[in-house]
């Protein structure tokens, strides 16, 4: 017990201060205040993670309580890494990640730049634009299947209005070629405001005097944009990409409601695939190994990225 972080927190509180005060000592208060949080996180995050790691070396199935459980070593990991179907879901995830981030960064940054022109009423419009991202992805995903209906759907109607194509001639979520884009569109619709908000914070953090100095040096607006605006906003933008990247790597609710992974398996992202393995096929051991592989991937990529982000910040 003496080595837990909580004790260290408690010990760190200078006893001299605590002694001066009536009632509970600072040390006790610190212990009391931090312990429940740490305990809860250990119980609901760390303990389960350890359990997942343990399960990943077994052939356990949660729906077969009466079956013998054997340790199978690295067999689950081997099977996953050599499974062609899983690589296909990885590709689908990569496509989704790449395009959602590209589109959201471009549109989000452009919007933030426009809003930062400080036109009248920009606060109101910013708030309205932000609404989609606060909503329940599952409910939104479900309703978008209605908007995507051939013929009667608003989306198809809108496209046909603009391009004069027959609104029943294409189906966003049923077509093999269009389905991957249907999920990109909804995610972009939902989360562009997120990138926009962060970019806006970045733009507003640039002090006016830098531009004023550039004006005096007779730097063109274009040059100002590339030498002042972009580098100053970049750390913010990278942070936005980090958040979106992690979130979309975990993407489940929106896509599961929208396409359910279909048609065939073209929009079956890794989280959906994993959910099928774990809670529909009930290959618990195998799915645990799968979960660990994903977890390590996210953490690995994220920490490399954070290093890069810190370098950019230092400049």
């Amino acid at each position: 017990m003496s080595d837990t972080p909580i004790d260290r927190v408690a010990k760190a509180t200078p006893p001299s201060v605590a002694g001066k005060i009536r009632g509970l000592s600072d040390r006790t208060i610190a212990w009391l205040f931090v312990a429940p949080t740490i305990f809860l996180l250990l119980a609901v995050n760390i303990f389960p993670l350890m359990w997942t790691i343990n399960l990943s070396f077994t052939n356990f199935r949660a729906n077969r309580p009466n079956r013998e459980v054997d340790y199978v070593g690295l067999r689950n990991y081997e099977r996953i890494l050599t499974d062609g179907d899983i690589w296909l879901t990885m590709q689908a995830t990569a496509h989704f990640l790449f395009w959602t981030i590209v589109l959201q960064v471009l549109i989000g940054f452009a919007l933030a730049w426009l809003i930062n022109r400080k036109f009248k009423g920009n606060d109101l419009w910013t708030t309205l634009i932000v609404l989609p991202m606060m909503l329940s992805p599952a409910v939104v995903g479900n309703f978008w299947t209605f908007l995507y209906q051939p013929q009667i759907g608003l989306f198809n109607y809108g496209i046909s209005f603009l391009t004069e194509a027959d609104p029943s001639s294409f189906q966003m979520i049923g077509d093999v070629a269009l389905a991957p884009w249907s999920i990109v569109i909804v995610d972009t619709w939902m989360w562009t405001p997120f990138v926009m908000l962060i970019c806006l914070a970045g733009l507003r953090s640039i002090p006016d005097y830098i531009y004023e100095a550039a004006e005096i040096d007779r730097a063109s607006k274009w040059r100002q944009f590339w030498t002042i605006t972009v580098p100053m906003v970049l750390p913010f933008l990278m942070l936005a990409v980090l958040f979106r990247g992690i979130e979309n790597f975990k993407m489940f609710d929106l896509v599961v409601q929208l396409t359910g992974g279909g048609p065939g398996s073209v929009t079956e992202l890794t989280s959906i695939n994993l959910k099928r393995e774990a809670f529909e096929k009930w290959r618990t051991g195998y799915a645990s190994a799968y979960a660990i592989i994903l977890f390590v991937t996210v953490f690995g990529l994220a920490s490399i990225y954070v290093k890069a982000l810190n370098k950019v910040k230092e400049r």
Partner: protein, 313 residues
């Protein structure tokens, strides 16, 4: 800033920027407006081609949302006494009678119980921890804080399997308590980070003065710090509530009836022959409106909330 400043955009620029942003806003709000209006359409209008912008408002979607109905033959319909209420009349017009209430009310109530329960718990625990982190010298404080943050980055699915097994063993599956504890654990990282930021901004001098006046540390905390942090606590609470309100993945895995929240339920609202879109839209509207209101209330703290306090402006 004076209007003569050289960094102030010209009025033509402002006008152009404003127009572009408003165009974007209108397009992006269309789906939301569509949800709102579809809830007030009749089933026929909802699937009309071309999509109807003007329509005769109907409450059928809302009636269908809250009731279960059975079809009866015209003869049976004749033999019934006249409808006692306007909503019964709407149902009768479709050759049906009301068989009972639907499950939507229960599911919505579950969302309220679990949402508010977990929000209260995470803000309560989060405030305590944030205060400790903010005010006491703690070695490895950064590590501990990073640990708390990192739990939020974990894919839910990575821990879902053992949590499912844990809940099964402890009898927490499909219970309000189980879901409240789970959502609290997910939300607490956000609560600690946000609240630490808010508490850091409260000058220590206030408490120190209180301590000198003879308050205990504990009294100083709840009589001086808490009132100062009230705004921060309120906005943190709303962010926690929005998360647990919207959560789907755990809800679908761990609840089936008693404690099922609205997000897994709304997509399963069906009518005769496929999804009853006006009813789905009505259910979605009732469910989404609270969050929209909160978003507008929160607009000043929005950025801080969605980035875990990483961006404060």
């Amino acid at each position: 800033m004076s209007s003569y400043s050289i960094t102030e955009p010209s009025s033509r620029q402002k006008w152009a920027a404003g127009t572009l942003v408003i165009v974007y806003a209108v397009i992006t709000l269309l789906p939301l407006v569509w949800i709102l209006t579809t809830g007030f359409k009749s089933p026929v209008d909802a699937i009309a081609y071309p999509p109807k912008v003007l329509f005769e408002p109907s409450l059928e979607g809302y009636v269908n949302l809250f009731t279960t109905r059975t079809r009866v033959t015209p003869e049976q319909l004749e033999s019934l006494p006249p409808p006692a209420s306007w909503y019964e009349q709407i149902v009768r017009n479709r050759d049906m009678v009301i068989a009972g209430p639907s499950r939507y009310g229960e599911r919505f109530l579950n969302s309220v119980i679990i949402g508010f329960g977990s929000t209260f718990l995470s803000v309560f625990l989060g405030t305590l921890a944030a205060y400790a982190f903010s005010r006491f010298k703690v070695p490895m404080k950064d590590d501990l804080l990073f640990f708390i943050l990192s739990t939020r980055m974990m894919p839910p699915i990575a821990v879902a399997i053992p949590i499912f097994l844990m809940f099964r063993t402890l009898g927490l599956s499909d219970t309000h308590l189980g879901m409240i504890l789970l959502y609290t654990a997910v939300n607490i990282s956000l609560a600690v980070w946000l609240l630490k930021g808010f508490i850091d901004e409260i000058p220590r001098e206030y408490e120190e003065a209180a301590l000198i006046d003879g308050y205990t540390r504990f009294q100083a905390f709840y009589k001086v710090v808490l009132p100062q942090a009230a705004t921060g606590i309120a906005s943190t609470a709303i962010f926690c509530l929005i998360f647990s309100w919207n959560e789907y993945a755990f809800a679908v895995l761990l609840t089936s009836g008693t404690a099922q929240t609205a997000p897994p339920f709304i997509p399963t609202i069906i009518g005769v022959g496929g999804q009853d879109w006006p009813a789905v839209a009505a259910g979605a509207t009732l469910f989404l409106v609270p969050v929209m209101v909160f978003t507008i209330l929160l607009r000043k703290h929005l950025l801080r909330g969605i980035t875990f306090g990483a961006v404060r402006k």
